[in-house]
């Protein structure tokens, strides 16, 4: 029998739990309350004591720290061989994983090994009489799908970025305190036995920074489309992004023209984003593109064509020449920023 425990597999960077993991902990808290189960956070890496300190007096029930030098860099082989025994031991009912590159690689593999239900890209969770319904975008966000799971547990669930409330950023302990619950968590440390020979993938190197990185987590996105006319002109959007603390994205048309890399593409075949503020510059608003950004909280459209479909979804529209408008916006923001 599985108990009602909810697990969150929490990613961390530089000894800080990531935003996505905090959202998953937030979602986990909601579910565990309604299902009357515990909430456990699982952290993989090496020398994780910092988390046992920062999480020691929080609202989570259990913190499982899986330590091994071979877990510092993610490989699915190492993660799965450490997680499966722990899952078999504790038998959680649900495992929540944030939608990151790591999560999207790990979750399907974990679910396949366990032969249990898997749901990705969840943007909403509803519980009614212990029945859980997951809402997720399909067809690139043009439709939504309500999914139910059944059968053996744990169900492996990937949560869409920015879909669930997290506490304000900062140290983990303070974040978790923000939920207003304070009790001593049970901390268990596992030093796992791992052989490097059991890890089939060898990581040869990591190349940091690439355009479009952080798009899915960004609060503010400035995106350019065909109206940008040239790769050079994206510099202007970089400037606006740096004034507002945002990230630059692009429409499929701008990517196809070779002005921006694919990693920066927002849309059905690119990234699906829902920032607080999305400023679309010279983007007409093809269904493909709208599918990727229409859940943004506030949309601003700057376009010469008053009939561009982007104005149908924009909260604020400016019909005008972006080469005139954008520099003026930057200027104005700088003036009274």
């Amino acid at each position: 029998m599985n108990n009602n425990d909810i697990w969150v597999i929490a990613e961390h960077k530089a000894n800080i739990i990531t935003a996505g993991a905090l959202e998953a902990i937030g979602a986990g808290k909601l579910i565990s309350k309604q299902l009357n189960g515990g909430l456990s956070v699982v952290i993989l890496g090496d020398e994780l004591s910092v988390f046992s300190k920062s999480l020691s007096n929080t609202m989570v029930d259990n913190i499982y720290l899986l330590e091994n030098p071979l877990l510092v860099q993610y490989t699915s082989d190492a993660y799965i061989s450490c997680l499966i025994p722990l899952i078999k031991q504790h038998r959680p009912s649900v495992i929540l994983i944030p939608s990151t590159c790591l999560g999207r690689d790990l979750a399907p593999k974990l679910a396949a090994v366990l032969k249990t239900a898997y749901v990705s890209d969840i943007s909403r969770i509803e519980i009614d009489n212990n029945n859980i319904t997951f809402t997720r975008p399909v067809y690139g966000g043009r439709l939504l799908s309500a999914v139910v799971c059944r059968g053996e547990k744990p169900w492996v669930l990937i949560l869409r970025p920015r879909a669930f409330e997290k506490a304000a950023s900062g140290a983990v302990a303070t974040d978790l305190h923000a939920y207003g619950v304070s009790k001593a968590a049970n901390i268990e440390k596992y030093s796992t036995n791992l052989l490097s020979s059991s890890i089939r993938a060898i990581i040869k190197g990591v190349e940091q920074t690439q355009k479009g990185m952080g798009l899915t987590e960004a609060d503010i996105i400035i995106a350019g489309g065909r109206g940008m006319k040239d790769a050079e002109n994206f510099k202007m959007l970089e400037d606006l992004a740096s004034v507002l603390g945002g990230v630059v994205g692009a429409s499929g048309a701008a990517v196809d023209a070779g002005w921006m890399p694919h990693s920066a593409q927002v849309g059905q075949t690119g990234k699906v984003v829902s920032p607080k503020l999305y400023i679309a510059c010279g983007i007409s608003g093809a269904p493909q593109h709208l599918a990727g950004m229409s859940t943004s909280k506030c949309i601003v459209a700057i376009n010469k064509d008053p009939y561009a479909p982007i104005f149908q979804v924009a909260d604020y529209g400016i019909v005008g020449d972006l080469f005139e408008v954008v520099p003026m916006v930057i200027e104005e923001l700088k003036k009274n920023g």
């Binding site: 699915s76 590159c101 999207r104 690689d105 399907p108 593999k109 396949a112 090994v113 032969k115 239900a117 898997y118 990705s120 890209d121 319904t133 067809y139 690139g140 966000g141 439709l143 939504l144 799908s145 309500a146 999914v147 139910v148 799971c149 059944r150 990937i158 089939r200 993938a201 990581i203 040869k204 990591v206 940091q208 920074t209 690439q210 990185m213 952080g214 890399p261 694919h262 075949t269 690119g270 607080k276 503020l277 093809a286 269904p287 493909q288 229409s294 506030c298 601003v300 104005f311 924009a314 909260d315 604020y316 529209g317 400016i318 019909v319 005008g320 408008v325 916006v329 104005e332 923001l333």
Partner: protein, 296 residues
């Protein structure tokens, strides 16, 4: 006498076949590549939900190959051109799936497996991966390529799950792939949250490709002509030995996930187009972003 002659004949034939086999195995070390392809509704069309909300209306909608899978086909063809070997596309679905198989043939794929059986209708993600694993295992493989996800249901499951079921390593979201000269390893560059990661894995292995890895070729006219004549191997549940065995049904019979309903996202309320000269409009925009939307 006659018998002896025949014996010698068959014996000689067998030896020749053996040489033939050895030739392939020992001299060319042909790389066998499988590409998983899925047929999806054209991404540019409007979608309508059926009255019972369980699915979309499929009538008269144009179907295409999942764009990510097309990159996978292209990558497979590039590997074949460099190293020799063969490219087999494999797809599950009804008769219409033959269209994307033919278009893969036209690009240059050599063989195709069409998994077609009413028993395969509305399988869940695990069961689909399980059936694929059975079909692919029959003929052996060195490299499996697929798109990083399908643009219709967007599960992003089949590739990594299939690799787990087959117990082979896999690399997700790859933007570059290089096979070693001895064809025993592959080096892939994959997208990670911090940038790019270069990973080496032993073959056989599975790779899920990300947009940007290549530009799929257009089918040539001779390719299109040849594609019409190529044989599509139809495989049903019985051929895989998973049709009736109770043990298999337990594994893949009951759906782990069920779509309760589809619905349209809430419509955004109509916004306002700001009017006036540029300076007025920009001041108003900044004011609205600060004080009405409160997003900056």
């Amino acid at each position: 006498m006659g018998d002896n002659f025949l014996d010698n004949f068959w014996c000689g034939f067998a030896v020749l076949k053996l040489f033939d086999h050895m030739h392939i195995r020992c001299y060319t070390l042909a790389v066998k590549i499988f590409v998983l392809i899925k047929q999806v509704p054209d991404t540019a069309i409007a979608l309508e939900i059926k009255a019972d909300a369980a699915d979309i209306m499929y009538q008269d909608i144009p179907w295409v190959i999942n764009p990510y899978d097309e990159y996978a086909v292209e990558e497979a063809l590039c590997i074949k051109e460099k190293l020799g070997g063969s490219v087999t596309v494999i797809s599950m679905g009804p008769d219409r799936v033959a269209d994307i198989i033919r278009s893969s043939f036209a690009m240059g794929a050599d063989e195709a497996v069409h998994l077609k059986d009413t028993a395969f209708n509305s399988l869940d993600a695990y069961s689909t991966a399980f059936i694929l694993s059975k079909a692919i295992s029959i003929s052996g493989y060195d490299i499996i390529l697929c798109g990083k996800q399908a643009v219709d249901d967007g599960w992003g499951y089949i590739g990594p799950a299939l690799a787990e079921i087959l117990s082979v390593p896999s690399v997700s979201s790859i933007l570059k792939l290089k096979i070693s000269e001895d064809k025993k390893h592959a080096t892939a560059t994959r997208e990670i949250d911090e940038g790019l990661e270069v990973v080496e894995v032993p073959l056989p292995a599975l790779f899920a490709v990300q947009q940007g890895i290549n530009k799929p070729r257009y089918a040539s006219l001779p390719g299109i002509m040849k594609a019409k004549k190529k044989e599509i191997k139809i495989v049903d549940a019985g051929a895989l030995g998973v049709a009736s065995a109770a043990t298999d049904l337990r594994v893949w019979g009951a759906s782990r996930t069920n779509v309760k309903k589809l619905f349209y996202p809430p419509e955004r309320k109509k916004g306002k187009v700001l009017e006036g000269d540029s300076m007025t409009v920009i001041k108003e925009l900044i004011n609205l972003l600060r004080n009405e939307a409160k997003v900056i």
